[in-house]
Amino acid sequence: MSVSDEELQRYFDGELDDATRRRVEGALDDDDRARLDALAEVRAALSNALLGEAAAIDLTGAVGEAIARDAERAAPVIPLAARRPRRRGMVMGLSTGAGLLVAAAAAFLFLFRPVAVPGAPINNAEIESLEVDGLSATVLSVDSHSGTENATILFAMEDD
């Protein structure tokens, strides 16, 4: 892989300066383009409203602790503590497994801060663990209007 995960994410976010952007563009390989496609697909599947409401979240600590507790049985992951949420407030874990990337199966998980939406459905679901292979997965959790309950959905996108 010729472009680092961090560079690729920042390239996708439009956060690179011109010189770095040109270098990254020149270094993109098929795996990188597949990962960019996956990022774009996941972003397209999410609502602008949810993205806006999710600003300024920082779940890094909680997610990192959960991963640490699960470390004995979990597959290797990139420490999320090293991936501070960016402007949209997303926490992303990205496998470094080359096979995953070759298979164009970059997988991402975004956790959003629950937001108050009047009349939202309720299931009070808590996703305790999630492993994916060959797809991207998104967990969306939205608070009820009262803020005491939530509705959670799991959205997975398969590769071609």
Partner: protein, 157 residues
Amino acid sequence: MKRLVVVGLLALALPARADAPTPTARCTLRIIEARHDGGGIDPQIVSLKPFFEREPFDDWKSFKLLKTKTTLLAPHASDTEALPNAHTATLTYVEHLLGPDGKHRVKLQLEILHGARKDLNTVFTLDEGKPLPVALQKKQTAATEMLILGISCEIPH
């Protein structure tokens, strides 16, 4: 390792385990096809309607119930169902929980296999009788249909 593992804590307060022996659970798997063309929401899946009327599902205009399967599961028992996309879904009833407010909750494991590959493996807890929508989308295009699993369990009282 061809896997990504991400664990998220979406709530800090976890419900206590019930003291009584774990009861059986009546679990229902609804298999739904979502399409971009019109057709509305199948009246048989009214419990999922509030989800489908909102993002990200509101991009799809038709939600058709393909199959409903209800199974009585003992603790730690599983049931497997073939999906229309050539995958298989296995639902395992992990345990029964009681919330601090006396609410019955169920912990479940969902595994989706494509051949020998385990595409998805998740453990989750939710209120009894309430559905968790699990969307399986092949590609984000205007013409692509999407498969949605609606998973819910009830505890006989």
